[in-house]
Amino acid sequence: MAPDATRLDLLQGTLDLLILRALRSEAMHGWAVSERIQQISQDILQVNQGSLYPALHRLEHRGWIKAEWGISELGRRARFYALTAAGRKQLEIETENWSMLSEAIARVLRMA
């Protein structure tokens, strides 16, 4: 898939936030997470697979999500990730941080 003008690469650090948000309602495996992000952002946000899995493992390591083996739609074994209590708290914090940041940036841009 060639790079597309309407698709944005993710800002450093925002991937964690998006993953946590995607996992808020239900546990899902890595592919579904990337699909979900792409889908909701209407294909504007493109998740690079090379950074998705390191991010998932990093979040697991920090204790914000936990992983369990389950069976995917295709009948294959897949690792399903789910939010932990700490992850839920982290999601709140990061959501707030993000809205503050984006608001601030928007304000700066409007001024200019």
Binding site: G30, G50, G63, R76
Partner: protein
Amino acid sequence: MFWRGVVLRLRALLFRHRMDEELEEELQSHIHMQAWKNRSGKLDPAEAMRLARLQFGSFVCATEECREQRGISSVEILAKDVHFAFRMLRKSPGFTTVALLTLALGIGANTAIFSVVNAVLLRPLPYADPSRLVLVSEARPQSGISGLGMSYPPFTELREGSHAFSAIAGFGAHALVLTGYGEPSEVSTVVVTSEFFSVLAAEPLLGRVFIPEDSRRGAAAVVVLSENLWRNRFGADAGIVGRSVTLDMRPYTVIGVMPASFHTPFVNQANQVWIPLAQDPLFSVWMTKPPGEHWMAVIARVRSGISSTEVQAELDTVGARLAKEFPAEKGWAIRIEPLQQAITGDVKLPLLLLLVAVGLVLLIACLNVANLLLSRATSRSKELAIRIALGAGKGRIARQLLTECAILGMLGGLIGTLVAYWGVATLVPLLPPGLPKFHSVRVDGWVLVFAFVLSLATSLVFGLAPVLSVAGSDPHKELGEGARAGESAGPRRARALLAVGEIALAMVLLTGAGLLMRSFAQLTSVNPGFEPHHVVKAMVSLPQFQYSTPKQWAAFSEELTTRLRAQPGMQDSAIAGPLPIVDCCVTLDFQIVGNPPLEEGAADAANYVPVSPRYFGVMGIPLVRGRLFNESDSSSTPAVALISEALAKRYFPNEDPLGRHLMFGFPVNGIVSREIVGIVGDIHDVSLGKEPGPMLYVPYAQAPLYGAEVVVKSTLSSSAVVGAIRTVTHGIDKNLPVTDIAPLPEVLNASVAQPRFRTLLLGLFAAIGLMLAAVGIFGVISYSVSRRTHELGIRMALGAQPGSVLGMILRETLALTLIGIAVGVSCALAAARLITHLLFKVPPYDPVTLGLVSLVLVAVGALAGYIPARRAMRVDPVVALRHE
């Protein structure tokens, strides 16, 4: 959170293979799902799969990044550092060998000494709750007497009335003759009150221990055997309890066997029996006498929750009451001391001294290795600079250098532990006999832990120098250094500092060793006041129940000495009570008849020896005035005594003691008045290290003992004399044991075993320290010469003479040595003050020792510098200028 991280990391480390497999499966599953999605876009399966792989990107990169997220990197870095460290060590075998040997020597010696300290000082006494055990003793503060045993009456007072002690027991030790099982032999007999085993909370291996009924008058005679005696003499007979054994010709019923792990405090012998005080032929008489004889060692268990001041307060009250009740207790006070301290007090300082000394050796070894590492770091500076330039952090490099040091330290520790095993095996037979033996000296778990911690600490100490030098380095300068092979001042100064430190430490060690050696030489050159050569001593004890009257004792000794003299080759023989130095000593109070009585609580005392007439001839003790004893001094003639010069000088300073009378004697025999008939020369009665004190001699025939030391003068070999003593004794009575046979010079030699032991070890450590310091100086100078080849070449090219180059290098060496000595002298003076107690007739600031030690160090320093200096002298300017 933290623990979760640890668990995940551990999982990552331990199940690395499985986790890698799982990761791959997870990523594969992702690709499959992507392919499935692609297929719904009407692609054929193979094409869909290809596209999915393409979309995923680099599989390897993703795997690698995921792995990094697991956080095992630090472990892997460590593994890499360890691997690299081993490679570096293998690459320079010379450096590695020298460093490892140095460290192994230092750590090994420390571990070996620590195993002695651990066994003797650190491990608690092997009794239940040993911290509550105390030694109770009597002291007469007015006369400066302390730490004496107790009399029986004060002991019973404490036993009945004490609230501070939950249990208290008294004991004394002597020897009884065991007959009936093999050769008649003496066994170490501990005479105890019935509470003895319960105070120490000791359980028997077989049978039972004493109960109060055993101490009643008229109770059956019972005995408890030591496991050792039970195994050696009775073949570990399981039915021993209830059997009868014969001690001093009297039957005792065995009631129990104590395990070998049980030790009587202060009594070291393995072949031991315990009997109740009431059953003892010797000490039981004191049970009914008024106080005055301080024969009994008393141990007690302090009730929990009672402080030592409270105990002391109670003891003071009891002491005051006793002083009112018994005149002999006036001026005496009862004291306590923790049992462990009482047992190990004497050996603590010498052992700690050895530990400190061996620690200094290790410190020198550390400085040496640090020096080697610094030299190597300088040669490796380019390598390190390149690595820093290529992006390695200084922290990362420091970490790797420290890993190298830790590996070096650990390997050194490993070899050091082997050295320690060997060292302990060598050390144990050398240990002086007086050392408490509650725990065997060996390399046990604690000692291994000590060696491990020591190795780590050592690595940190010697690793600091190279790491600091990296921290201060500038890759820019290092790489720009190019062809100029000089050396920056920093590391050079650091190495010089290390060498100075080594010399200073060696100075301290050498001074300590020198002082002890001088002191030991003084000690062994002391004239004991008697002539030990060609004199053999032996102990003959007479069973109390067979030889029960003093008349029999006197007759036996007369018979023995007469028969001994009749043997071919025997020049002379005599009998004496306690022999000087061999078995110290009987001290008796005496009164000068005709002098005003002393104030209350004070008393004059002298060491007391009953001797047979020819004793002074055998021992070579000169008669100063008057006459010696002769055969006509007997129990039916007037009581006489000889005094030593020291007594004459102290108590009869301005008058003639001959003809005066002294009142003294054992309370049993009754104290009698004796006329002073002569003055004999002073002898060292207690030990070589203690000045001769006042002595009282009485004729053996007037105050015989139930057993005594025989001294025989003969030019025959000592083994022939020993054989003759045995034959003659057994000719009189085949059941008499002859024990403690030894030539007197050997006994004198053994009496200085402790100072010899510490002098030997400290001397050894000082020698090692000196050698290591010499290697250190040699290393610094030769490295400096090799780094300065270029400079030296220029100097020579400009006309410097080889001799002046030699002088320059030697001056540098001497400067280092002299600074080291200057620093060392002040440290040595401070350290020597701490060992003043161990010195005999040598002041801690002894200028002779300091001077000699300094000379040795200068000589060794000059020698260590001369070898590289000569190499510098032979530098060829042409070669040197091309040198890089």
